[in-house]
């Protein structure tokens, strides 16, 4: 081998290794997950069966093609035969695939019957999708909450990282992390009732092999029974608008005891929140406090559409900066809009506390040079939302 050739090969080798040596490469997954439920393992086996069958057929068919391309070429003096019909062969290669298909359909049918059997569940949770968050409601437990993406905006907007080296600034669970995960017990059949408040979403956790569309106005069923406690991540799988890529699902599976403890804790929290809500009615917050809480609330719940700058994305998402509602209109109307929603805008009354709404309205009426000087307190929100 000549020196020049060696240098070339060295260069190619260096280029290839540099491409493959990325830090994240080790996390790259090639195949479907086996998952953590009996059903997900059946699904995985079915996937492998189909994959091996296709590979085998591919080897035979492509093998015959390549054989013919290598040995039946004109440049090798091949003379064309003149057969062009054979009923026997046609029947044969109709019948054999039918048999192979039946062999695949049998396990597929039994797995499917399993997956669609929603009977005898021990826990039932209603899952509601909305643009762009999930809401979980535990039946008979008086527990319900929203679950929203918790990856900071700076990370996915590449702030202070820009194009180069932005991987380093992103967290391990980038775009797959939420503020409050769904919590379910291990080794119990958990049934999900899935629906939507606006457009179609799809609730998908690969480790459970559960993917079910959330259709507005209809309720779909799905179930799972997870063996091992742990944290499992998924994403919305149906295009649902602008932030479809930013509504992950995180499920925390807890052992039976831990789950019960968690339930008690949540119920205590719910009671405490109700007390705080009552207390906030008589309390009065300073402008600084309101603006600070308002900004946090705004960034978490409003900035996706109305943008951190308050400029919105017109015409779909109107600007708040200098808008009539946030600067000239009566405060009560502004509150009602946030609490009850309008058109594409979802209602936030159920989702935010009175205090948060009060802070939010104050923030919107004073940020970005809106400077109305209006201060809104929890009691104002209560009064305006007409409860």
């Amino acid at each position: 081998m000549s020196r020049g050739n060696q240098r070339w090969l060295m260069g190619i080798w260096l280029f290839c290794t540099s491409l493959f040596s990325c830090s994240a490469w080790s996390d790259t997954q090639l195949n479907l997950t086996k998952g953590v439920t009996a059903v997900s393992r059946e699904v995985y086996d079915l996937h492998m069966l189909a994959l091996y069958t296709c590979t085998a057929i591919g080897v035979v068919v492509f093998g015959a093609m390549f054989w013919s391309m290598i040995f039946h070429r004109k440049s090798k003096g091949a003379k064309a035969a003149d057969f062009h019909e054979s009923t026997t062969v046609e029947i044969l290669w109709t019948a054999i695939p039918v048999i192979i298909l039946i062999a695949m359909a049998v396990p597929a049918t039994s797995t499917l019957i399993d997956m669609e059997n929603n009977d005898n569940s021990e826990v039932t949770i209603q899952i509601t999708g909305s643009q762009w968050k999930w809401h979980y409601k535990y039946f008979d437990q008086d527990i319900e909450y929203y679950s929203v993406l918790s990856t900071p905006r700076e990370q996915y907007e590449n702030q202070n990282g820009s194009f180069e080296g932005n991987g380093a600034l992103k967290g391990k669970d980038y775009l797959l992390e939420v503020d409050k995960p769904l919590v379910i017990p291990a080794n119990k059949k958990v049934r999900f009732l899935i629906t939507s408040d606006d457009v179609i979403h799809s609730w998908w956790v690969p480790a459970f092999a559960v993917k079910q569309d959330a259709n507005p106005g209809f309720i779909n069923e799905a179930w799972t029974n997870v063996d091992e406690p742990g944290i499992y991540r998924g994403q919305c799988a149906e295009l649902c608008g602008k932030d479809h890529g930013f509504m992950p699902i995180v499920v925390e599976v807890k052992s039976s005891d831990d789950y019960d403890a968690w339930l008690n804790e949540q119920q205590a929290l719910t009671a405490k929140a109700a007390d705080a809500e009552k207390a906030s009615l008589s309390a009065s917050m300073s402008k600084d406090e309101l603006m600070q809480l308002g900004e946090t609330t705004y960034m978490a719940h409003c900035a996706a559409c109305h943008q951190p700058t308050g400029l919105g994305l017109p015409p779909t998402f109107p600007a708040l900066k200098g808008s009539a509602v946030a600067t000239q209109g009566p405060i009560a109307e502004h509150i009602s809009l946030v609490v009850n929603g309008k058109g594409m805008m979802p209602p936030f009354g159920k989702q935010l506390s009175l205090k948060e709404i009060a802070a939010l309205i104050t923030y919107e009426r004073n940020a970005w040079g809106n400077d109305t000087g209006d201060l809104v307190q929890s009691s104002d929100v209560k009064a305006a939302s007409g409860e």
Binding site: D27, Q29, I57, M65, A80, A105, M115, E116, G245
Partner: protein
């Protein structure tokens, strides 16, 4: 049109003396009723659309090159994926096949022209308007459609960005154009076959277009219906797809896919026809199992009407629905398999040479079959719950549409370019086009299988870090594939300008009436019907 030009074209129609009475300049193309001119218009239009839709895909791939939002906003990203899909399906693949139909069907069945030449002109010339509206919506205040090319309600109705009306109008025009084109194909094939050419003597190419045209006539009105319901839901207060008014958003998907699944075969059956013409020519051996090929094509077309809900396994169908659609979908693998086996048997013990049309055809058979395999996997409902709406599906349909339909279009273009232009294409440039496309297209689409299996949903502008490496490779493949298509543009322009003179039949193994006329094909061919025994 002035009286003079009407008289002139009437004269044209009754003229047997082989003089070209074409007008000059732009008028020739605007007023033309000649099937070859219209075929050329369709082919150029589809190539321009391919480059336009490709340019949108390039922006998508730049955005997905690295995690994080790089150059476009999520809403604009959705506009890009939507319009990319619509342009490629309705603007690139379908018109390209109509172009082939126009050029080749009359020449293959020994007819002087298409049966309805004026409608032919109209069905082409409304297309540019449809796409001007669609692409123009990018520059309007609302932005372009952003609800995916499948435009699921209510994202495309109550929650749309205001582009729904433009979108619906554009789709209506495309639909009218397709229906007229299809009627023309059916009428031509039924009435203008030269004496002696019975149905079972027609080239398989003609058969596949005949069946495709019926599919189009059957399902394009369904598409027109569903977009009209979308329009009235959005602007006139109906509630077809709104549960609050007694409608059902899933019904939208049933109607859409009742159109959408046959549509898939509309984009692949003509490809079968092209490849079934080319493989025998370069294997120097008759097509194996001609009649089984005809029956397989017809079976696929019929089955395509009863499998639509396999796109909807996760919508909450009852168990029996899921089983029915799973079995029917698996059944499609049988006639499709017959086709692949017949192509292999045609090559078997042939006398093969590997000119560019043959290279593209062989690549078609292998890569389309890979797309078919992933299709079979997707048919299995339980596993579809994992694959559905992931990059595995994106990989699947790009294998059947790009390395399937598009590669067959390239194969056909290289095969008939000598007949169309009168010159041979530049062989080494064409080889570059083939090999660059083949390598880059696999780098582009094969890793998408892995991304989907690892859990990356489709239609997202940003992704979790474990998907980063494959996305980088996919993007590199995408840029390379995009650039490679410019080589084809160079080949075609060179070939039109000149090159080695093409003989009437430049391929020694080719068969069919189109090779009995000179190259380039005269403006009018077969004014007297040729003889076929």
């Amino acid at each position: 049109m002035t009286t003079d030009t009407i008289n002139e074209s009437l004269d044209d129609a009754h003229n047997d003396d082989h003089h070209d009475h074409k007008m000059t300049g732009i008028k020739r193309w605007l007023y033309t009723t000649n099937h070859k001119d219209i075929g050329t218009l369709y082919l150029w239009f589809s190539f321009i659309m391919l480059l336009t839709g490709g340019a949108l895909a390039m922006v998508i791939r730049v955005e997905l090159f690295q995690p994080g939002l790089q150059i476009v906003e999520p809403d604009f990203f959705n506009q890009l994926t939507t319009v990319h899909g619509l342009i490629m399906v309705f603007g690139a693949i379908m018109p390209a096949f109509t172009g082939f139909a126009n050029w080749m069907i009359p020449m293959m069945i020994g007819a002087p022209d298409m049966a309805l030449p004026r409608m032919n002109n109209w069905s082409f010339w409304i297309l540019p308007f449809a796409f001007a509206i669609l692409i123009g919506s990018f520059f309007m205040e609302s932005g372009a459609p952003n609800f995916g090319w499948t435009f699921y309600a209510p994202l495309s109705t109550t929650y749309s960005n205001g582009s729904t009306a433009f979108f619906v109008f554009a789709v209506h025009i495309m639909g009218i154009s397709s229906i007229m084109g299809a009627i023309n194909i059916v009428v031509t094939i039924m009435n203008l076959r030269t004496p002696g050419m019975t149905y079972m003597k027609m080239p398989l190419f003609v058969w596949t277009f005949f069946i495709t045209a019926y599919l189009l006539i059957a399902v394009m009105p369904v598409l027109a219906g569903v977009v009209t319901m979308l329009l009235t839901d959005t602007y006139f207060g109906t509630s077809f797809f709104d549960a609050a008014g007694g409608g059902d958003p899933v019904m939208f998907q049933h109607i859409f896919w009742f159109f959408g699944h046959p549509e898939v075969y509309i984009m692949i059956l003509p490809a079968f026809g092209i490849v079934s013409t080319i493989i025998p020519a370069f294997a120097r051996k008759k097509l194996f199992g001609y009649s089984s090929m005809v029956y397989a094509t017809a079976s696929i077309a019929l089955l395509s009407f009863i499998v639509w809900a396999h796109h909807m396994f996760t919508t909450g169908m009852p168990l029996f629905g899921e089983l029915f659609f799973m079995y029917c979908t698996m059944l499609i693998a049988v006639p499709t398999g017959v086709k692949v086996f017949n192509w292999v048997a045609t090559m078997w013990r042939g006398s093969l040479t590997f000119e560019i049309p043959m290279l593209f055809s062989i690549a078609f058979v292998i890569l389309f079959t890979i797309g078919g395999f992933s299709g079979l996997m997707l048919a299995l409902t339980p596993v579809d719950f994992q694959y559905h709406d992931t990059y595995f599906v994106v990989a699947h349909f790009h294998y059947v549409l790009v390395t399937g339909s598009l590669f067959s279009i390239y194969a056909g273009a290289y095969y008939w370019l000598p007949k169309w232009t009168g010159y041979m294409y530049n062989d080494s440039l064409a080889k570059w086009h083939f090999w660059c496309s083949l390598i880059s297209v696999n780098l582009l689409f094969f890793p998408m299988h892995f991304l989907g299996l690892a859990g990356m949903p489709r239609r997202i502008p940003d992704y979790a870090l474990q998907f980063a490496d494959f996305n980088k490779w996919v993007s590199i493949g995408g840029f390379a594939f995009g650039l490679s298509q410019l080589i084809f543009l160079a080949v075609v322009i060179k070939c039109i300008k000149g090159g080695d003179k093409a003989a009437a039949k430049p391929w020694d193994g080719a068969e069919g009436l189109e090779w009995t006329v000179a190259s380039p094909a005269p403006y009018h061919t077969f004014s007297t019907p040729p003889k076929v025994d």
